[in-house]
Structures are given as C-alpha cells and as structure tokens.
C-alpha cells in the first residue's frame, strides 16, 4: 500500500514535471539581450514574438507561431512574455500549462520598458503583439497582429528568401 502510494505520487510528480516547461525569467534587459544574441548566433533563423497573458490579440496569434515552428523545424521560435513580474506564478505559468504551449517561453520582466523598447527596435511603439525575424545580421521588425497562419508564414518565407 505504501509502495503503491509512493508510486502514484511519483507518477503524478513526473507527469507534472513533464508537462510544465521551464520558463527562464530575466529581470534585467541586458542579460536577456546577451542570451538573445547568443540564440541568434546559434540558429539559422530566429523569430521572437513579444506577448503577454493580458493581451487578447497576442493570445489569438500564439497558435500560428506553434504551427510555424512545427512546419519549419529549422527556425527557432521564442515566445517572450512581457507579463508583469508579480504575475509569473499566478498567471503566466498556469496559462502556459493550460494552453499546453510547446514553444519555449521566456519571461522578460524588466519593468523599465522605456529603457529597452528602443534597443529591441527604434520603430517599436511598445505595443504588443510585436514580432522580430532574425537571420545572422539581418533583422525585420513587425508591429502588428497576424490574423491567419498564412499571413505569418508568408512574412517568414519572404524574410528568409530575401
């Protein structure tokens, strides 16, 4: 009986462990930026989508990024949440579990947005969703909401072929 209970607990523990992805949190833009540059250097193409759990249009387009990643395994897709730091445990993590997001989520929780928005792209008003495409030294910034998967796919293919 004791063994069975232990076994059950272990199963539940591992099930939970496998389900939840590890979300790296940055409280400081510089550290995030270094990690991002490294990722860009290590991959053929990188797409970074800025979103938050409180942003309805962002949530609507998340599945398109999942689909893009599944269709084009060579591109590294990162979902960078700009949720408030205080919402990490109570909103962001439950959201990721509920939606079963398979793409890596990074929590960029540096609150001083006026110091870092321009460093991501000077054209960025700060509105989300916003998406960046990187390949080597090339970069494309897009401040809009993708209404369909095809719209996102076309943007990616145009970028990668140009």
């Amino acid at each position: 009986m004791i063994n069975n209970m232990f076994g059950l607990a272990a199963v539940l523990f591992f099930a939970g462990y496998l389900q939840a992805q590890e979300v790296i949190t940055y409280h400081d833009f510089n550290t995030y930026n270094v990690a991002l540059s490294k990722t860009i250097g290590e991959n053929e193409a990188v797409i970074v989508n800025y979103w938050a759990t409180w942003c309805a249009p962002c949530i609507k387009e998340l599945p398109y990024f999942e689909e893009l990643s599944a269709s084009y395994p060579d591109v590294k897709v990162l979902l960078v949440s700009v949720d408030f730091a205080k919402d990490h445990d109570k909103r962001l993590i439950p959201f990721i579990d509920r939606k079963q997001l398979s793409l890596p989520v990074i929590h960029m929780a540096d609150p001083k947005a006026n110091d870092w928005i321009d460093r991501i792209d000077p054209d960025w008003s700060g509105a989300i969703p916003a998406t960046l495409f990187y390949s080597g030294e090339r970069k494309q910034f897009v401040e809009k909401e993708y209404k369909t998967f095809e719209e996102l796919e076309e943007e990616y293919l145009t970028f990668i072929k140009s």
């Binding site: 942003c55 408030f84 001083k112 947005a113 006026n114 509105a127």
Partner: protein
C-alpha cells in the same frame, strides 16, 4: 497692386488653413493642443479653458480596464494631489470604445471613480473625437501642456509601471517642474507603455 494683395490674401488663407488642420499624426512637442468639451463623470462638461488660472495642464488618456492604467490610478491621484493646487490640473480622459471594451463605458467610469475617490475630472471621449487629435495611442498616455496649451511633454508617467516604489525617473513630475521654472522638459518625449486604445476594426 491688386494682384499683390490677392497673393497676400492667398498666402494668408493658406497659412490659416494649415494652422486649422489638425496634425495628421497628432500633436508634437511645440504644437498648440486643441481644447475640447467632454462629459465628466458628474455630468458636467469640462474644457481646458475652464481652468482660467492654470499654469499648465496634465492631460492623461486612461481607462478602467487596462492593467497598466489600473497600476497608475493611485499615481494619477498623487499627481493631482501634488500639482492641481499649484496650477497644474490633472484631466483624465477615457478614449476607449465601450462596445469594443466592455467595462470602459460612462457608467463604469462613474463606478470606478467613486471606488478610487478620483478628485480630478474623468472625462469620456464619446465618439472618440479627441484622442486622435492628440495622437494618443495607449492608456495611459500623457500630454503635459503649458499655460498657453503648448505641448511640452508626451509619453509615460514614470519609468516603472509595475512597481511605484521602484520608480527611478518621474517623467511627468519632472516635466511639470520644468514648465513651472520656465524650462523645457528633458526628456520631452518617452514611450507611453500600456494598452492600445480600443477602436472598432
């Protein structure tokens, strides 16, 4: 002589036409802000020109529902408490279309203002005519004007929406102090951080 006068008239006409046309992308630093008459939560209409003794104006586009706007409610009250008596009234305007964003209607504004004991005007931009003239895009989005309604500062309230106790730079307070001392605010613009203003697609 006649032709010269005509040309002169024509030039005058052109200049006034340009001045009368609202800037396409909203107000820039140095522009004269447009006055308005919008309904306050108490049922009265409020205009900038109602504040005859003002040394400046703190016009804040904000709303009930945006998480950023909520985080700034107490700080907007603090701005009013500190500066309204000094001649810099805070005037809050909700620019959202309540059909797009339920919770940002006029009745909900009254409820929220009562809950938070707003002492400043909280106006409803019915028909969404005013915010495009200013070029506001977010809630909250601040425009600090001088006594002549010239735009001196556009952007965020301070540099840390999430945590009032960790604010480094109070942009709006610094702008007010600069205007009060006859100087131009530095920075004159920052990026307003918040939710997009809700309009019908």
């Amino acid at each position: 002589m006649k032709s010269i006068l005509s040309i002169f008239n024509l030039i005058l006409f052109s200049v006034s036409a340009i001045l009368a046309t609202p800037p396409a992308d909203g107000l820039k630093i140095g522009d004269k802000a447009t006055d308005f008459s919008l309904k306050n939560i108490d049922g009265n209409f409020v205009s900038l020109s109602d504040f005859a003794e003002a040394k400046g104006y703190v016009v804040i586009f904000t709303c009930n529902t945006c998480p950023y706007a909520k985080m700034y409610e107490d700080r907007i009250t603090a701005l009013h408490d500190k500066y309204a008596g000094e001649g810099f009234p805070v005037i809050a305007i909700n620019p959202n279309d309540p059909e797009v964003k339920p919770g940002d209607g006029y009745d909900e504004m009254k409820v929220r203002a009562k809950e938070k004991s707003f002492q400043f005007p909280y106006l409803f931009d019915a028909g969404q005519a005013v915010y495009p003239q200013y070029g506001a895009t977010k809630t909250p989005h601040v425009f600090v004007l001088d006594a002549d309604m010239i735009v001196k500062y556009i952007g965020a309230i301070d540099d840390n929406p999430q945590d009032a106790s960790s604010v480094g730079v109070k942009y709006v307070e610094d702008a007010i102090e600069a205007i009060a001392n006859g100087k131009n605010p530095d920075p004159a613009t920052t990026k307003a951080i918040g939710c997009g203003i809700k309009v019908k697609a």
